[in-house]
């Protein structure tokens, strides 16, 4: 099933400046794997050396943070959209 992943501006260097990338998947983990195949190198920005999502990376399915769903095991439906949300830069 095709899922849309929204790519934040600071990661669009990996997606050839595309704001969204479509992948085939029915769960978040596989969707992010498939994203790396589409956008080589992006995985290393999202995961640490131990293969865990980096602490500051926020993944949302629609409006929900996956931390409050089933993490990377969160299942996806046809119309779901994944968003990778960056931290907010810019104050000091």
């Amino acid at each position: 099933m095709a899922i849309v992943i929204r790519i934040p501006t600071p990661l669009q260097e990996f997606s050839e400046n595309r704001e969204t990338v479509e992948v085939e998947s029915d769960n978040v983990k596989d969707a992010l794997e498939a994203l790396d195949a589409e956008c080589p190198g992006i995985k290393s920005r999202l995961y640490d050396e131990d293969g865990k999502l980096r602490r500051f990376v926020n993944i949302y399915v629609n409006q929900e943070d996956i931390r409050f769903l089933k993490g990377e095991g969160t299942l996806l439906n046809e119309t779901d959209e994944i968003s990778i949300i960056p931290a907010i830069a810019g104050g000091i």
């Binding site: 990661l11 931390r67 949300i85 907010i88 830069a89 810019g90 104050g91 000091i92």
Partner: protein
């Protein structure tokens, strides 16, 4: 009638000089940091505890200075609404100052700002406009600019990224406090980069009074990072106030190592600082490693309690 018309059709501003709360801005404590004592016994490290400002962050200083300048120059007058984009701390400072002086405040803030941040702004009575979470502070900046251009007569937009009164606040207060609190012994100054106001202003003020002070800027190592309030300059809208000539050295800081230092200093020394203070400590460690002896001062922009909520 739009919400802006409702807000702006009101009473005169209160006098800054009569505000008890705004008088508490600045003159923050300079605290000795012991974290690197064993590794570098001949290096003295001090951190300016900016969370002691009444709005809880370093941003009280530039926000007050930009508002003051707006009022003094007549650009910010009763009937106008202060509008700006903010990642949070500047917004809280504006909101507090606005509440204290009766100035209506409208803030463009990325939708992914923490719920605590958003609630705090609301408690001060600020009007919030949300920008895309995907575009971060650059998106908020663009939206604020657009709102301003649509209605320039209604808004006063300090534009913290381009307003020289942002760094000037630090040149005239933070730098002088550091010189005073170290009895002029400061040799190295380390600060993280966001609007760049803290680094540029404090750096200028220190060098003006003590030209041999070395200034070290700390920047996130990657465009995609978790250091809220900090900017990876090459991949962001470049702040107009950023003056590369002020810093002698640029240090890159990873998100994880910054988080680690923030946690470490909280647990080991009871200084519960925010992530950008952790990044500053990464910078301090780099400088300590290279000098082996000397006096380093850094800025702790805010407290860690700002980052508890998702």
């Amino acid at each position: 009638m739009s919400r802006f018309e409702i807000e702006s059709s009101v009473t005169p501003f209160k006098d800054i000089e009569n505000s008890q709360i705004l008088k508490q801005i600045g003159n923050t404590p300079l605290l000795k940091v012991e974290l690197f004592k064993d590794e570098f016994p001949d290096v003295e490290v001090y951190g300016k505890a900016e969370w002691f400002n009444p709005g809880g962050s370093v941003k009280d200083r530039p926000a007050l200075n930009m508002v003051k300048e707006g009022i003094n120059s007549g650009v910010l007058c009763p009937g106008k609404v202060l509008l700006d984009s903010t990642s949070g701390n500047t917004g809280i400072a504006y909101a507090m100052i606005g509440a204290a002086l009766n100035i209506p405040i409208s803030l463009v803030i990325p939708e992914n700002a923490s719920s605590e941040r958003i609630e705090t702004l609301k408690k001060y009575g600020a009007d919030l406009i949300f920008s895309s979470p995907m575009e971060g502070s650059d998106g908020a900046q663009r939206m604020a600019r657009k709102l301003y251009e649509e209605n320039p007569d209604l808004f006063f937009m300090p534009c913290q990224y381009d307003n020289s009164f942002n760094p000037l606040a630090h040149e005239e207060t933070t730098a002088l406090e550091i010189l005073d609190q170290t009895d002029g012994k400061v040799q190295h100054f380390v600060a993280s980069l966001g609007t760049t106001g803290t680094l540029v202003g404090t750096g200028r003020g220190l060098k003006k009074n003590k030209p041999d002070v070395k200034v070290h800027a700390v920047m996130p190592s990657e465009p995609f990072h978790g250091l809220e309030g900090m900017k990876h300059i090459p991949s962001s809208i470049r702040p107009g106030i950023y003056d590369v000539a002020v810093h002698d050295n640029l240090i890159l800081s990873g998100t994880e190592s910054s988080y680690d230092y923030a946690e470490k200093i909280s647990i080991k020394e009871g200084l519960f600082v925010g992530h950008s203070s952790g990044a500053a400590l990464v910078g301090v460690h780099e400088v300590a490693k290279s000098i082996k002896k000397g006096v380093i001062v850094t800025i702790f922009p805010d407290g860690g309690d700002r980052y508890l909520a998702p």
